[in-house]
Symmetry: C2
Amino acid sequence: MLKPVRIALDAMGGDFGPEVLLPGAARALEQGESIAFSLFGDEKRIRPYLEANPALAAVSTLHHTDVAVRMDDKPSQALRAGRRNSSMWLAIEAVKKNQADIAVSAGNTGALMAMAKTCLHTMPHVERPALAAIWPTVRGRTIVLDVGASIGADARHLVNLAIMGSAMARIVFAVDRPTVGLLNIGSEEMKGIEEVKKASRLLREAALPNLQYVGFVEGGDIGKGTVDVVVTEGFTGNIALKTAEGTANQMAQYLREALSGDLMSKLGYLLARKGFAALKQKMDPRNVNGGVFLGLDGVVIKSHGHSDVFGTAVAIEIAYTIARHELLGRIRDAIALSYDANPAPAKLGVSGEPAAAPSQS
Amino acid sequence: MLKPVRIALDAMGGDFGPEVLLPGAARALEQGESIAFSLFGDEKRIRPYLEANPALAAVSTLHHTDVAVRMDDKPSQALRAGRRNSSMWLAIEAVKKNQADIAVSAGNTGALMAMAKTCLHTMPHVERPALAAIWPTVRGRTIVLDVGASIGADARHLVNLAIMGSAMARIVFAVDRPTVGLLNIGSEEMKGIEEVKKASRLLREAALPNLQYVGFVEGGDIGKGTVDVVVTEGFTGNIALKTAEGTANQMAQYLREALSGDLMSKLGYLLARKGFAALKQKMDPRNVNGGVFLGLDGVVIKSHGHSDVFGTAVAIEIAYTIARHELLGRIRDAIALSYDANPAPAKLGVSGEPAAAPSQS
């Protein structure tokens, strides 16, 4: 039997806390995977769920703490009040202390990011962490990163994002050499940000073994599923993600209005309910719940604050898969390889032009 | 009777050229507005449409040229080959020479932007032009700018975008004091780009008479119609626009698949066809066809390259409305006012912190 994956769960995070997170953990466990949970939070609120679910209790260790980061705490407040003793911090720290393989929290993103950075630190050659999202597309799913962990990115950071996103795609999509695109605003002259163009040259020249760089992609390519991994800096990535969610909601509202306008449309809606159920399933954001913080010496999964039991289970399953296939080690190796394979520091270094093709511009 | 609005039409632009643009012009004319067209392009291809449509011919002057910018010309190529003699250039130049009030082209965006900049130049206090898009929302429409005319923006340019977008919103939406939001990635500490935060302070302090600044908005607010005008720099704006279009296409494809899956769903679709027709109408991108280049000494409208007759007519009607209500003059006045009202150059100047509240950070 496989050694269980040790998941540290911040049982107090999110809009609903233990009332949703514990049943979510139980549901993930029911999928048959081998998991051991470390649960951090208020014993009084957690205990009843363990008593009601012996299977969950059997694989769980409960670590009591009174302190919980609130959903509206600013990152600095959260760090001031919850460093070392909040359920969020303790879950992350369990990863640092190698008492857990991965941490999951539905707590507020800014606080989670700040605590993860403070506790885990970035890995060698990575300056800043990134948040990777799994994005539903017409062809399946695409990983988009960074969707908001940091703002702005130089060329080398964009290359790191490509490497980290590809390592995740290899595991989550089970593809050997994921395709990678750099988000840009078209291939016309004078378009694009200098660092994006430079990252493109670096990725072409590096010809990394574990990813297939295909060039620039545009905003419309994300939903098409043109590539497995879309790379962009965090400001643009976050706005793209929120804009897409907003557009999906907008379309759903148009559809509801259109089908409640006249009697025949209402009747048609009833007849087509099987089709609409399939549509609803496809548009269900819970299917892709679980943002992944990458680039730190330990992986932290962010479950959506509004997540219900099903969504929580999905985030925990993603955590399981990622930890089972040792994403962290793979990223470390791939980042190191990208340097080792290019001993000339200028080639993939942060500063300067690529050494290989100085005449390109 | 109102003096006609003089519209210069690049009759060769777009994927279809005169075959779509001339019927589009005729259709716009049929709406009853008082328009005079200057048509630029190949006489042989344009003439038949004028002969077939005496009403259009009666208000049109034809200016022959053999030269047309191709849809795949790079901006530099277009300028080299088509400066001074292409249908695109001549249409823009007609605005410069005050032979037309506004220009419309369906030609390639990069070339159009380059020619418009070269020919018209930017207006006082505006460093770079912007492309404004009209974005359908659940509450109506929102103007989003910049959607790709220039990359990056300092705080003062973002303020100019707010002013220009508001002037356009006053005309197109017929509202007195449009609401304006700055696109950002949330209000958490440490989030957002420095220049966006600074622009927010400038807009609050300036308290401009013709717009109502409401603060930061996120990607999801665009489709909700939270504000009349969303301001962002061109890279992010373009990616948001393309991502939204991509998501709308993705949802439409999901819907098609869902309603062709089983017989009952197909039948339901047939019954609900009135509802679906309403949905299709609502999602029809032709309704909002017409990007507006702002910030130059003359206004140029970009019709979508794929536009059909209906879409072309919409772009021409937007051009008519904008020119009829003298957008250019309003923008000039509003920009000047934003400086005059704040004689201390630091307050709304490009450099330095706002003078009024140095203690804010």
